[in-house]
């Protein structure tokens, strides 16, 4: 059910914008040129920024909807309520996710949903890669007890 909605949203994004709904690309593209000296070879046109911003606003509105609809921490367990990792763990994880998603040209949505749907070889390899390192990391953290909350 939730998965079907994700697929629907990815399809709708392609339909309305002609672009793939890769979250890291959408966010990363908006960050382009924010710091001096980081302007891309040919900066994304203003239109590109506008639909990305509209998508992000939708994403946050969806979050508010979930917050209203869920009783208590229903949809945000682990954020509200008992955390899964320490703050240090979350901070390190954030850097790795942000950097890795940009270097890898996509995240769970861009590679895992859009790319796998297209049977893109690059995305299949990327998805397999981040699944494997994710599984290995969870196993390592479980074994060592690092970053416990």
């Amino acid at each position: 059910m939730g998965g079907a909605l994700i697929g629907l949203a990815a399809s709708g994004t392609l339909f309305f914008t002609g672009r793939r709904a890769g979250i890291s690309g959408i966010v990363g593209g908006l960050l382009e040129g924010l710091l001096p000296g980081t302007t891309a070879v040919s900066p994304a046109p203003a239109d590109e920024r506008r639909w990305r911003a509209a998508f992000l606003v939708g994403l946050l509105m969806g979050g508010l909807t979930l917050l209203e609809a869920g009783t208590g921490a229903a949809f945000f367990a682990g954020a509200i309520g008992a955390p899964v990792r320490s703050y240090l763990g979350l901070a390190v994880a954030g850097v790795l996710v942000g950097f890795g998603a940009r270097l890898g040209r996509g995240c769970t949505s861009g590679h895992g949903v859009c790319g796998v749907s297209r049977l893109s070889a690059q995305s299949l390899v990327a998805t397999a890669t981040f699944m494997i390192t994710g599984i290995a990391t969870v196993a390592l953290v479980r074994f060592t007890g690092w970053f416990a909350p």
Binding site: G3, L60, T65, F75, A91, L96, G104, G110, S117
Partner: protein
């Protein structure tokens, strides 16, 4: 997207973001404990449900792509069906024009490997982290802030950019986006 952006496009993008967020929430992707449970193959309590979520998302989107390829009258702007993920196309440069391994499969694999470590460690990937911002939970705010920081680090260190004076010129060329044929 060179044509003037219509209100329809913006509303569509907004609606898709909304649906995307609700899909992530309903499926459990915004709960890091559930994500970690999905990746916890060796913990004795593997929770495969997010695998089904991904399969459902792929099934729906793949069907949509099939349907779109079939309809010759489809009128969305500049659909690209076959290229690798988009940055280098958007920037209008060939991957070969870039230095190092960034344009190659090695860069994608290295990035995906790093991403996976962070995903397993934090239990969040970018979409769910952004959706969860509304919870205002300190952990989510922290994760999202450092995630944006990680993206900026990439941008400063590695992202292809306009050539600096005296530096090697990157050859820009107009992209021709393949139309959805067949």
């Amino acid at each position: 997207m060179t044509m003037t952006m219509t209100r329809r496009t913006l509303l569509g993008a907004f609606g898709c973001g909304l649906i995307f967020a609700i899909g992530l929430g309903v499926s459990g992707m915004t709960q890091p404990g559930k994500v970690v449970g999905f990746l916890d193959l060796f913990g004795g309590s593997w929770d495969p449900s997010l695998g089904l979520v991904m399969a459902a998302a792929v099934a729906v989107h793949a069907s949509f792509l099939r349907w779109m390829r079939r309809g010759p009258s489809f009128a969305a702007p500049e659909i690209d069906s076959c290229a690798a993920l988009t940055d280098d196309e958007l920037a209008g440069i060939s991957p070969r024009a870039r230095n190092g391994f960034l344009g190659t499969r090695g860069g994608v694999m290295a990035g995906a490997a790093i991403f996976g470590v962070g995903w397993g460690l934090g239990g969040y990937c970018p979409g769910p982290a952004l959706v969860s911002l509304v919870s205002l939970a300190p952990g989510v705010l922290l994760f999202t802030a450092t995630m944006l920081g990680g993206m900026l680090i990439y941008q400063v260190l590695l992202h292809p950019r306009a050539a600096s004076p005296g530096g090697p010129e990157l050859t820009a060329r107009p992209t021709t986006r393949p139309k959805l044929a067949r």
